[in-house]
Amino acid sequence: MVKSVIPAGLKSMKKNDLKLLAVLLGLALAAFVGMSLYARFTTKEPQAVVLLDGKERGRYSLSEETVVEIRQEDGSYNILQIRDGKAEITEASCPDKICVNHRPVRGQGESLVCLPNRLVVEIENGEDLGIDAGTR
């Protein structure tokens, strides 16, 4: 119904109507483009997010080489190293060393876990490995 009305209307319209139509369409388009661009620019570079007991304690870009010591009040610690776009724990005070033995991570959804120290390092905006969660 809408389709059949528009062409007939266009012929017998006033200039102002056309202007209004153009402005509204322009606004809609601008809004759409704006939202898309916003979505694109808010997607950030890959980062390693350090969480202690579920709370964020820091985030580090995977593109900058760095070594971070995450020391807690009780003296326990983990050393996080970022190199070649990957994050890994190179040293830790925990007895089991599961976090140290874990391979470096870089992909979206991958994580390093140290249970004794209640530490999780999560990758955000990482390379898409097509995985939502891992089983181990």
Binding site: V2, V5, I6, A8, G9, S12, M13, D17, L21, L24, L25, L27, A28, A31, F32, M35, A39, L51, D53, G54, P95, D96, I98, N101, H102, R103, V105, G107, E110, S111, V113, L115, R118, V120, E122, L129, G130, I131, D132, A133, G134, T135, R136
Partner: protein, 373 residues
């Protein structure tokens, strides 16, 4: 032509003009409607892209591991509230199935163990049902899944903890002591009384340890609870014990990777499985273990030999029920491939993937690796 200007006295012209004006009104209304529809459509497209959003959350303190939950919610607050509810629920199960700690006002597995040879303990239905399920799985797996194996498991636990604290002094439990402990693992002496909802261990030196099924059983209950509180699409992972609630919001299955047991390999996952309302559990020797004289001894102990089994690096089981998947992954880890694959092929809706110590991968007949469509 202006409004109010009437072409008089020509009735025909007037009529035509009237029709023309009406047409214009309809046209204007039509254009307005069209613009509104286009506008609304564009807004809707954006809205659909962003809502509901995908969130992730995590918490500790349950089953000695970290729980990670991925789900879709209307807002961060909405998701956080749901996450808190889920945490409270899992803490409840953790306390019930805990064999190391006592909690006020809760009769848990430790209460039952402490009263071995003394008296029957009245328990919550959630404990009773778990133990009943454990006994069923004992029969199905010919004793490879053994909930009354606590006396032997606790000895290994002590030696492992000590070995991790002092790696240079790490020792294996003495064979004689293992055998002495293994004299107190008769599952028939776990006496369940349905009528009174009580559990009695008829051997003072025996104890329950549900490490191989408790977590899986609890995760299944947690998934049901997630649906109850309105999480229609979620992925729950309690220490890699993964359970899917529905599929992803886009209607495709959740993709769950099976981790590569070779930790120094570049490849993080060996395969991916698509889950819609199903579970995937892996038992492996590469995460929890200790070393004695350079040899690795993992946390899973085979009731046949009282030693860590040497068959595989990991076994993953896919099943509808997380309790079944958990129980079977431990059992399959404890038996040869031929025996395991026949067990799996005889169970409906259960599939498995075995990874050998040499990296060789084998599958049950219906195992499906997820492929992007």
């Amino acid at each position: 032509m202006r409004d109010g200007e009437i072409s008089f006295p020509y009735p025909l012209l007037y009529l035509r003009e009237l029709r023309c004006r009406r047409m214009k009104k309809i046209c204007r209304a039509g254009i307005l409607v069209a613009v509104v529809i286009v506008f609304a459509g564009l807004v809707c497209m954006q809205y659909r892209d962003q809502n509901p959003q995908r969130y992730e959350g995590q918490f500790f303190d349950c089953f000695d591991t970290v729980t990670m939950i991925t789900g879709y919610a209307d807002s961060q607050q909405d998701f956080s509230e749901k996450l808190e509810l889920l945490q409270a629920k899992l803490v409840y199960y953790h306390q019930l199935y805990d064999i190391y700690h006592t909690y006020d006002g809760v009769n848990n597995l430790k209460t039952i163990n402490d009263n071995a040879g003394v008296e029957a303990v009245k328990v919550d239905a959630e404990i009773f049902d778990l133990l009943k399920f454990g006994k069923e799985m004992y029969d199905k797996t010919e004793g490879r899944l053994h909930i009354a194996y606590g006396s032997v498991l606790s000895l290994w636990h002590e030696y492992r903890e000590e070995g991790l604290r002092n790696p240079l002094q790490a020792k294996l439990p003495p064979q004689a002591e293992l055998e002495a402990r293994a004299a107190h693992i008769d599952i028939e002496k776990v006496i369940l009384d349905e009528q009174s909802s009580t559990v009695y261990l008829a051997d003072a030196q025996m104890s329950l340890d549900v490490g191989s099924i408790g977590k899986g059983y609890a995760v299944q209950k947690l998934a049901a609870y997630a649906r109850e509180i309105g999480l229609k699409h979620a992925l729950i992972s309690v220490g890699g014990n993964v359970c899917a609630v529905g599929e992803r919001a886009d209607g495709t299955p959740w993709r769950v990777g099976i981790e590569n047991p070779t930790l120094d390999s570049e490849k993080p996952y060996l395969a991916a499985v698509g889950l819609s309302d199903g579970c995937l559990v892996t038992s492996g020797d590469y995460q929890r273990y200790y070393e004695v004289d350079g040899e690795r001894y993992c946390h899973i102990i085979d009731p046949e030999t009282n030693m860590p089994p040497q068959y595989f690096a990991s076994v993953s089981v896919q099943a509808e029920d997380s309790g079944v998947a958990d129980a079977l992954s431990t059992s399959l880890f404890n038996m040869e491939y031929a025996q395991g694959v026949s067990l799996v092929d005889n169970m409906e809706g259960v599939e498995a993937m075995w990874v050998g110590k040499d990296g060789e991968i084998r599958y049950s007949s219906g195992f499906k690796v997820y492929e992007e469509k």
